[in-house]
Amino acid sequence: MNDETKQQINQKYERELQRGERFWPDSIFKDAIMALAIFILLVLLATFVGIHDSPKADPSDTSYVPRPEWYFLFLFKFLALYGQIPVLGTIEWIAAVLIPGVAIGLLTLLPFIDKSPRRYYAKRALPLGIMGIMVLGFVLLTMLADYPTLASDGSHLPGILQTIAAIVIPLLAYIIFTVMAYTLRERAARGITVTAILSGVLMTGFTVLAMVLYPLPVKEKVEVPTTLVDQIMVGQDFYSLHCLECHGDDGSVTVIEGVEGLEGAFTSAISSRDVLYTVNDASMSEIIAYGRPDSGMPPLGKAYNPEGLTRAEIDYIVIFMRHAWDDRFEMPEIKPLFPPLADTEVPSYDVHIAPIVKRYCLSCHRPGKDSNAYFMDTYENILDSGDNADMNVIAGDENGYLLLTIQGQVILDETGQEISGIMPPKGTLKPDVIDAFRRWVLMGMPRTAEDAAGLAWPTP
C-alpha cells in the first residue's frame, strides 16, 4: 500500500468524523443500553432456565456419551462426518488439527492476505462469500450434531446427506468463488452472490432432508437428584435393590439367611454405631464399590461389576444410610413411597405398584437372580413371567400366589413340596402396601393412572 492510498484512507476517515457523533455520550449511551440488556438476559436465563444437571464425574462409567459445550459441537460433528470418509477418514489429525489450524491461521493473517484497500461490500464478494458459507456451515453442523450418521438399518445415507450439506457443497462453493474472482475480476460480485445464495439454499435443503428422513432418536431423560430428600430416596431405592437381600431392610442383619452362596455368613450390622461411627463416608463408598472379597461381599462399583453402580449412585446409598441410621444425622421429612389411597381409589402400576416393587421385591425378582424365574422389573413380567406364570397374578382372584405369599401363606404343591415361601422372606409388608396390592390385583391390574381412574374400589 503506497502513501497516497494511505492518505486517501485517512482523509476519507476525517470526513466521516466530521459528520459523525461523539464517543461520549452518543456511543457510550448505546453501549450502556446493550450492557444492561445483556445483564437482564443473563439474570432471566439464570432464574428461569437454570443450569442442566449432570451427575458427578465417574471415570469408571465408560458408557457415558461425551458431548462438548454447544460452541464446539460444529467441530465435533465435522470430525464425526470426516471420520466416515473411507481411507482419508482414518487420518484423524487432518480434520482435528490441520484443517482448523489452517482456518485459524488464515483468519489471523487476514489483513496480510487481503491487502487491497477496498472496503465496500460489492468489491469484496470473495471474502464475504467464503465467510458467509462457512458461518452457515457452522450453524448447520451445530444443528445436525445430535443426528446419527448411521441409519438404524446400517445404511450410511444420513451421514452422506449430512456430509453433502455441510462439507461437500461448501467446498464446491469455495472453489467456484475463487475461480470466479480470478477470472471475472471486477465483475465477479454478481456471480459470487448468486452462487452463494444457491449453495446456501442447497446446504439448508440437504440438512432439512437429512433431519426429516432420519429424525433424532428419542433420548432417555436422566433425572439427577439434587435435593437431600431426593438423594435419600434414590439411595434407599438402590439400597433396597443391591444391599437389602443380605443386610436386611434396617441394616441390622449379622448372620445372612436365605441368600444363595452366602448362607450363614457373618456380616457387621451396618446400621450399628460401631460401623457408622468408625467408617467415614469416603471409606463407606469404597467398601460398597470394591466389596469385601474375603467375606463374600460382591463389588458394586461399575469398574468391577458391569451391572454395578456409578460413584454418584453409591454416594446416594451412603447418604441414605447416614440419614436413616446414624443418630448424628437428622432424617428430613421424606415423601411417602406412593401417594396414600383414598377409600374407593384403585392404585395403578405406574403410580403405586412400580415404586413398591422397586423397594420391596426387585432385589431378588430380577434377571440374574434365582427366584423361580419370576421377574418383576416390568409390568408385563409381573403379570406373566416365571415358573408359575399362570398362578402368580390373576385378575380379580384373591388366590394368586402374589397376594397369598405377601399375606403370609406358604404355597405347596400336591405332594406337599414348597413352591414358594412367604414374601418377602424376611419381615412383612406394611398393611397399606398389602392393601394396595390387593386392590390392584382384584380390580384387574390397571397400568396407568388413567386406567385406574375409571375404577372404584367397593368399600364395605
Binding site: D31, P66, E92, L107, D114
Partner: protein, 223 residues
Amino acid sequence: MRSTLWKNIFAWLDERLGLNDMYKNVLDRPEPLGNWWNTLGSASLFLFLLQGATGIFLTVYYTPSPDHAYDSIQYIMNEVAFGWLIRGIHHWGASLMVLVVFIHMLRTFVTASYKYPRELTWLVGIGLLLLTVAMGFTGYLLPWHQMAYWATIVGTQIAGSVPFLGDFILQSLRGGPDLSALTLQRFFAAHIWILPALLAALIGVHLYLIIKHGESHFPDKED
C-alpha cells in the same frame, strides 16, 4: 461553599492524575456514525468484567479437587445465598461471551475494519477470540460432572492427535497420561489466573489501539 470544596479536590486530583486530559483523549472523541453493531466490542468487555466478578465470587466456595468440586458447586447452588444466581450468570455469561465475541469478529470482517490502519487491532482481536474459547474449554471441566469429564477426555484427545507433538500436548494438558486431579488443578489455574491475565493484557492493547485509531466507519461506495 461546598461546590468550591469539590472543585478544589477535583483540581488537586486533576493536577496529579491528568483527569481532564484523560477525558479529552478517551471520552470526548469524535466518531463516525455508528449503530447497534458497534456495541458488540463493549458488550464483550462488559461480559469479561461480569465473568470476572461472578468468577471471583464462585472461587470463594469452589474447591478444585475431584473429591469436592462437584459437591462444592451443589453447595453454591443450594445453600449459598444467591449462589444459584451468581453461578447462573457465570454459566450463561460464558456462552453469551463466546457468541458476542464471535459476532463482533464477524462484524469486523464484514465491514473490512481489519484493513489499514487497524491490522494490529485485528491480530490482537483474534488472540482475544481464541483466549475466550480457551476460557470456555477450561471452565467447562471445573464442575467435574459427567458431561464435563468426558467432554474434556475427548477434547484433550483431539489436541493429542497432532503428529509428533501430540503426546506431549496431551500430557501437558492433562498433567499426565490420564485425566486426574492434576488436570482439574491446572485447568483451574489456567481458568482463573493464566488466561484472564492474558485476556486483560490483550484487552488493554486492543482498547489502546481502538482509541489511537478511532472506530472504523461503515464503508460506502467510495471505499
